[in-house]
C-alpha cells in the first residue's frame, strides 16, 4: 500500500462527517475541508443523495449568483448544512478566536480577522471546527478574543452551532447542553494522555474511543486522481505541496 499522508487521513475523516448533508459550503483558506467535501461529493455521485458543494474561492464550484453576500443569506435561510470554521484559538466552550492573541485591540500577535464566523456559527446547523495544530497554544482554556461564541442564551436566535472539532490528533464532538467537548476518535500515532497534555481545556473522554480510520486504497485513488486536480485550481499552493511536488 502506498504511503498515506496525514492530511489525507484528516480529509477522509472529515469526509465521513458529511454523510447526511445536502449542501456543504467551504469558506476562505480551507483546502482540507474543501478536499473532503469534494471527496464526499464524488463518492455519492451515483447515489440518490447528491451532495452540493460550494467552494467560495472557486469559479467552477461556486453556484452562487447573488454576489458574496449569498453565502451568508443562504446560510441564514437554513440552506447550508455544514460549514467549517477555524481558529487561532479554540476553547473548551467552543468559543473561537480568529483575531489574535493578547489584549485587544493592541494584540501581541494579530491574525487575519473573524470573517463570517459571527453569523455562520449561529445559523449553520453543523459547524465543524478544524484546526490542524493541536497544542495548548491553539486549544486553550479561554480564548483571548471571542470572534464567535460556542453557545448562546435562549433569547438569541441560534439554530446553528459547533458539532465537531477535528485536529491532527483527534476528533471531538460538542455537547451543546453540557457545553463541553467529548473525544470521539484519536490519531493512532498519539496516546490519549498525549492528547490530554496537548489540549488546554478539559474534555470528556469516551469509553468507545476509536482511532482515525485509514482511508481505503480506493478512496485514496479517488482523492489523488479525481479530487487533487480540482483542488489545484483553487488552492494551488496546498495542492502542489501535498500532491504535485
Amino acid at each position: 500500500m502506498t504511503e498515506i499522508f496525514q492530511s489525507e487521513i484528516i480529509i477522509s475523516e472529515i469526509s465521513n462527517l458529511l454523510k447526511d448533508d445536502k449542501h456543504v459550503a467551504i469558506g476562505a483558506a480551507s483546502p482540507i475541508p474543501g478536499s473532503a467535501a469534494l471527496l464526499a461529493q464524488e463518492e455519492r455521485k451515483n447515489t440518490n443523495l447528491k451532495l452540493q458543494v460550494t467552494i467560495l474561492h472557486s469559479q467552477k464550484f461556486n453556484n452562487f449568483t447573488d454576489g458574496s453576500r449569498e453565502l451568508f443569506d443562504a446560510s441564514a435561510q437554513g440552506r447550508i448544512d455544514t460549514f467549517f470554521l477555524g481558529g487561532v484559538q479554540i476553547d473548551g466552550q467552543a468559543n473561537i478566536n480568529l483575531v489574535g492573541t493578547g489584549r485587544y485591540p493592541k494584540l501581541d500577535k494579530r491574525f487575519s480577522g473573524s470573517f463570517g464566523s459571527a453569523l455562520m456559527y449561529f445559523v449553520v446547523p453543523k459547524i465543524i471546527l478544524f484546526r490542524e495544530e493541536h497544542t495548548p497554544r491553539t486549544l486553550v482554556k479561554k480564548v483571548d478574543f471571542i470572534s464567535a461564541p460556542g453557545i448562546s442564551p435562549p433569547n438569541i436566535y441560534r439554530p446553528g452551532g459547533p458539532k465537531y472539532l477535528i485536529t491532527n490528533k483527534a476528533l471531538f464532538s460538542f455537547n451543546k447542553k453540557k457545553k463541553n467537548f467529548k473525544i470521539e476518535k484519536i490519531n493512532p500515532e498519539f496516546t490519549l494522555d498525549e492528547v490530554i497534555k496537548s489540549t488546554g481545556f478539559e474534555f470528556k473522554t469516551n469509553k468507545n474511543l476509536k482511532y482515525f480510520t485509514m482511508p481505503s486504497q480506493k478512496r485514496i485513488d479517488v482523492l489523488r486522481n479525481l479530487i487533487a486536480p480540482k483542488v489545484l485550481n483553487f488552492y494551488p499552493q496546498f495542492a502542489k505541496k501535498l500532491w504535485f511536488n
Binding site: 493592541k106 500577535k109 487575519s112 473573524s114 470573517f115 463570517g116 464566523s117 445559523v123 436566535y157
Partner: protein
C-alpha cells in the same frame, strides 16, 4: 469612438482625497491595483478603508505605505500566502485604528445605504467580542412578534455611505456600462458610494443593454463617475476569465512585507517597474 469621457488611472487616483472613506473590493471582486499604486505615489494620507468584506495585498500595501488611518474589515490576509504582514505590524503597534467586523455586517451596512434606511438588523454577533468593541452597533429588543425566539435581542448596524469606490473589471461598453458578472457585491458597493470609478481591461464596441444576457451581468453607467483603461489592472491579483493570481509575485510580496525595510525596498521596485499600461 466611445460616448463617455475616458479618464486615466492617475485621474482616478486624484479623486481619492486624504481622509476619505474608500470602498475596497475583495480579492475575487476585481482589485484596482493600478490605481492603488498611484494612490501610494500621491502619498495620500488618512484613508479609511471599508472592505467588502476583506482585503489582501491592496490593503496591506496601502497600510505599509502609510496611507491608512483606519480599516473596517472582516479580515486582512494574503490567503494562501499567509498573514498580511504590514497590517499585522500596524495593529500590533497601534499605527492604525481597526473596526473589526464580520462579512455579513459589512454587506448589511451597505445594503442599508442602498435602501436609504438608517440601519439594518442582523442576527448572530451577540456574544462575540466584535460587538463589545463597536460603539456604532446597537442591541435592541426585537420589536416584532413574528420571532420564535422569546424576548429576542438583535443587533442593528448603521448605514454606511462610502465617499469613493474603485474597482477593476473586465469590460466597459461604449456607453460606459461595466460588466461585473456574478460579482454583484460590486453593485451593492456602487449603490452605497458617492463616487464610483472603474478600471477595465478593455472597452468594447457594443452596448451591453442590447442583449438581455449581457444586461444581466452589467453595472449600469448611471452609478459610474469615470472609467479608465488599465491592462492587467488587477495584477498581481487575478481577474476572472482574464488572468490568474501571480503566485510568484504574491510569494515575493509576502516575503518582502515581513519587515518595513524590505517592504519599502519592494515598493520602490514595484512602483518603478509596474506592469500596467494606460496609466
Amino acid at each position: 469612438m466611445v460616448n463617455f469621457t475616458q479618464i486615466t488611472v492617475k485621474d482616478i487616483a486624484k479623486e481619492v482625497k486624504d481622509n476619505c472613506l474608500l470602498g475596497i473590493p475583495a480579492d475575487y471582486s476585481g482589485v484596482p491595483m493600478s490605481v492603488t499604486i498611484e494612490i501610494i505615489k500621491n502619498k495620500t494620507k488618512g484613508l479609511r478603508l471599508y472592505c467588502l468584506p476583506l482585503t489582501t495585498i491592496q490593503g496591506d500595501m496601502l497600510i505599509g505605505s502609510g496611507c491608512v488611518n483606519e480599516i473596517e474589515t472582516a479580515a486582512v490576509t494574503l490567503g494562501e500566502y499567509g498573514q498580511a504582514p504590514r497590517f499585522q505590524d500596524a495593529i500590533e503597534n497601534s499605527k492604525i485604528n481597526i473596526k473589526d467586523s464580520t462579512c455579513p455586517a459589512l454587506h448589511a451596512q451597505l445594503q442599508a445605504t442602498e435602501k436609504s434606511v438608517p440601519f439594518m438588523p442582523l442576527r448572530g454577533i451577540l456574544g462575540s467580542d466584535l460587538y463589545k468593541n463597536r460603539n456604532d452597533w446597537v442591541v435592541i429588543d426585537n420589536p416584532m412578534n413574528n420571532s420564535n425566539t422569546n424576548d429576542e435581542k438583535i443587533v442593528i448596524l448603521p448605514a454606511v455611505k462610502l465617499d469613493i469606490l474603485i474597482f477593476h473589471a473586465s469590460k466597459a461598453d461604449i456607453n460606459g456600462n461595466v460588466q461585473i458578472g456574478r460579482r454583484r457585491e460590486l453593485a451593492t458597493l456602487a449603490h452605497a458610494s458617492k463616487k464610483v470609478y472603474v478600471t477595465v481591461e478593455e472597452i468594447v464596441d457594443e452596448d451591453f443593454f442590447d442583449s438581455e444576457l449581457k444586461a444581466a451581468a452589467t453595472l449600469p453607467s448611471l452609478y459610474i463617475d469615470g472609467i479608465s483603461l488599465a491592462k492587467n489592472g488587477a495584477w498581481p491579483c487575478g481577474l476572472t476569465d482574464y488572468y490568474d493570481i501571480d503566485t510568484n509575485e504574491m510569494s515575493k510580496y509576502a516575503k518582502a512585507a515581513k519587515y518595513q525595510e524590505t517592504f519599502d525596498e519592494y515598493m520602490r521596485d514595484f512602483i518603478l517597474q509596474n506592469n500596467y499600461s494606460n496609466i
